[in-house]
C-alpha cells in the first residue's frame, strides 16, 4: 500500500496521529544524525589539515624515499578509492573478525564517527593541500624577511588566506557529509535514515521517507546558509 492510498482511506485525525507518531520516532534519528555530523566535522577538519601536512612532507630517507608523504598518499588513495559504506563496515566489524573482540551495539556510534572522520579527513586533506599550494611564494618570502617564525607564518599569514580560498570546496564536502550520514544504516546505527526505513516498513508508509527527505534538505539548506554567511564575512578582501 502506498502512502497516498493510505491518506485517502484514513480520516484526517488519524493521519495527524500517525504523522505525529512518525515524527516523534524520527526525532531520535535526527538527533543521532546531527551528532554524527558534528562529531565528524570536529575530528575530520583538523585531522585533514594534519594529513595534508603529511602529504606535503619533504622528509626523505635517501634521495627519493619520502616515508610520510608515501603513507599519507596511500591513505588518501584508499579512503577515496573504496566505498564509504565498506569502510564503515570494516571499522565496525573489523575488531571482531581481526581480533575476536565482541562488538556491542554501544560501539555503533564510535564506529560510525571513526569511519566518517578518517574518510572525510582524506578529502579535506586534499582540499587543504590545494589551498596551501595556491598561496603565492611571495607571501612566505615577505613573512620570512619580516622575521616571522614558521608557525607564525603558517597560522597568521597563510592559513587565513587558505580558509577563504577553500571555503566553497569545504561547503561541498559538508553538504555531501549531511547526506552521507545515511550510510551509517549499514551498521544499524539508528540515525535518521535507519529510523525512516524501519518506520516505513512497520507502518507501510511513504511518509517517513518524505519526512527524512525534508529533514536532509532543510539541514543542507541551513548548512548552505551558514557557509554562505562565513563566505561573505571573509569577502572583505580579494
Amino acid at each position: 500500500m502506498t502512502a497516498e492510498s493510505q491518506i485517502e482511506v484514513l480520516p484526517p485525525w488519524c493521519i495527524k496521529m500517525t504523522l505525529q507518531n512518525i515524527l516523534t520516532q524520527l526525532g531520535g534519528g535526527m538527533l543521532k544524525t546531527i551528532i554524527l555530523f558534528f562529531s565528524t566535522l570536529i575530528i575530520a577538519l583538523p585531522l585533514g589539515l594534519l594529513v595534508s601536512f603529511g602529504r606535503m612532507s619533504k622528509l626523505s630517507i635517501g634521495k627519493h624515499f619520502k616515508p610520510i608523504k608515501l603513507i599519507t598518499q596511500i591513505y588518501i588513495s584508499v579512503m577515496r578509492g573504496t566505498p564509504l559504506m565498506l569502510q564503515i563496515m570494516v571499522v565496525y566489524f573489523g575488531p571482531y573478525y581481526l581480533f575476536g573482540i565482541k562488538i556491542s551495539s554501544a560501539y555503533q556510534i564510535y564506529a560510525a564517527i571513526i569511519a566518517f572522520s578518517i574518510n572525510y579527513a582524506a578529502y579535506f586533506a586534499e582540499i587543504y593541500r590545494g589551498g596551501i599550494e595556491s598561496i603565492p611564494q611571495g607571501q612566505y618570502e615577505a613573512a620570512k624577511i619580516l622575521g616571522f617564525s614558521k608557525s607564525q607564518t603558517f597560522f597568521r599569514i597563510v592559513f587565513p588566506q587558505v580558509m577563504k580560498r577553500i571555503l566553497p570546496s569545504i561547503t561541498n564536502e559538508v553538504i555531501t557529509l549531511v547526506k552521507d550520514t545515511s550510510l551509517a544504516f549499514v551498521i544499524a546505527y539508528a540515525e535518521m535514515f535507519t529510523m525512516a526505513k524501519r518506520i516505513a516498513a512497520k507502518e507501510t508508509s511513504m511518509i517517513p521517507f518524505v519526512a527524512a527527505g525534508i529533514f536532509y534538505y532543510v539541514f543542507n539548506l541551513l548548512v548552505a546558509i551558514v557557509m554562505n554567511r562565513i563566505e561573505k564575512k571573509m569577502a572583505y578582501y580579494k
Binding site: 603565492p136 624577511i145 616571522f148 578582501y237
Partner: protein, 254 residues
C-alpha cells in the same frame, strides 16, 4: 663604516652559474643602484643578501656580522647558526617588486603585525610608529583600507612603510617600480629619494636609469653574472669605456 661586504660570491642553479665571483661594499648612508639586463643575476644577488637564496661560496658581512664565510678547505659557504642568521636578517628590510602585502590584513595591521609578533612592541607603540610612517608615505587616511582597495603605487608605499617599521639598517629594493605604470613609478621614486636624503643606506635593483643616475651614490652594472662596472653614476653612465655597458645604456636612449 661598511654596512655590507660581499666577497667573491658564487652561486649556481644547477649548471648555470648566475653569480660569478661578485665582490663589492656598501658604506653607511650610501645608495647603491644595481642595473643590468634581465637574467644578469641582480635579483639573485639581492636575494642572497636577504637569505632568500643561499650562496655556494664567498663571504657576506652585514653591519659587521658575518652571515656566511668560506674559510674551510673545500671553499664551500659556511652559514652561521639559525639564531645568528635570524638576528642578522633584522638589519635588513626588503621591498618586493610585487609588494607581497598580506591581503587579509588592513594597511595598519600589515605594518604592525611584525612589530608586535617579532619585535614584541605593544599595540599602541607599533600603531604610533605605523601612523608616522603612513603620514610620511602620504597615506595617513588609508590605515583601515585593505591592500586590494589601493593602487599599485599606494600598495608599494605601504610595503615600504612595513619594511621601515622594523627600523632596518639597510633597505633593499627588488625592482620596486617594475609592476607599476610610469605615473605611479614617480611616487615610489620620490619616496626612495626622500629616504636617500635622510641618509638611509639602500640597495636598489632597478631599470630606472634616470633614477639610478640621479639618486645613487654608486652604480653597479651586472651582466651574465659578472659585475661589469662599479663606480659613481658619472663613471658608469657618462665615462664608461666598456662596450657592453655602452650597448646596454644605449638601449635606454635618454
Amino acid at each position: 663604516m661598511k654596512m655590507l661586504e660581499m666577497k667573491n660570491i658564487r652561486k649556481s642553479f644547477g649548471d648555470n652559474e648566475v653569480l660569478k665571483n661578485i665582490s663589492f661594499d656598501v658604506e653607511k648612508g650610501e645608495v647603491l643602484a644595481i642595473i643590468g639586463p634581465s637574467g644578469s643575476g641582480k635579483s639573485t644577488l639581492l636575494r642572497s643578501i636577504t637569505q632568500l637564496e643561499t650562496i655556494d661560496s664567498g663571504e657576506i658581512i652585514i653591519c659587521g656580522d658575518t652571515l656566511v664565510s668560506s674559510t674551510g678547505y673545500d671553499g664551500k659557504a659556511q652559514y652561521v647558526s639559525k639564531k645568528e642568521r635570524a638576528a642578522i636578517s633584522r638589519h635588513l628590510g626588503l621591498v618586493f617588486q610585487n609588494f607581497n602585502l598580506f591581503p587579509h590584513f588592513s594597511v595598519m595591521r600589515n605594518i604592525t603585525e611584525a612589530q608586535r609578533k617579532v619585535l614584541g612592541r605593544s599595540k599602541e607603540a607599533s600603531e604610533e610608529i605605523a601612523r608616522k610612517l603612513l603620514k610620511k608615505m602620504g597615506l595617513e587616511n588609508k590605515e583601515n583600507a585593505y591592500p586590494c582597495e589601493l593602487s599599485g603605487g599606494q600598495q608599494q608605499r605601504v610595503s615600504i612603510a612595513r619594511a621601515l617599521a622594523l627600523s632596518p639598517e639597510i633597505l633593499l629594493f627588488d625592482e620596486p617600480t617594475s609592476a607599476l605604470d610610469p605615473e605611479l613609478t614617480g611616487e615610489i621614486l620620490k619616496v626612495i629619494r626622500e629616504l636617500a636624503e635622510e641618509k638611509m643606506t639602500m640597495i636598489v635593483v632597478t631599470h630606472e636609469m634616470l633614477f639610478a643616475e640621479g639618486v645613487a651614490d654608486k652604480v653597479i652594472f651586472m651582466d651574465k653574472g659578472y659585475i661589469i662596472e662599479n663606480g659613481t653614476p658619472e663613471e658608469v653612465f657618462k665615462n664608461s669605456e666598456n662596450e657592453r655597458t655602452k650597448a646596454f645604456l644605449s638601449n635606454y636612449n635618454r
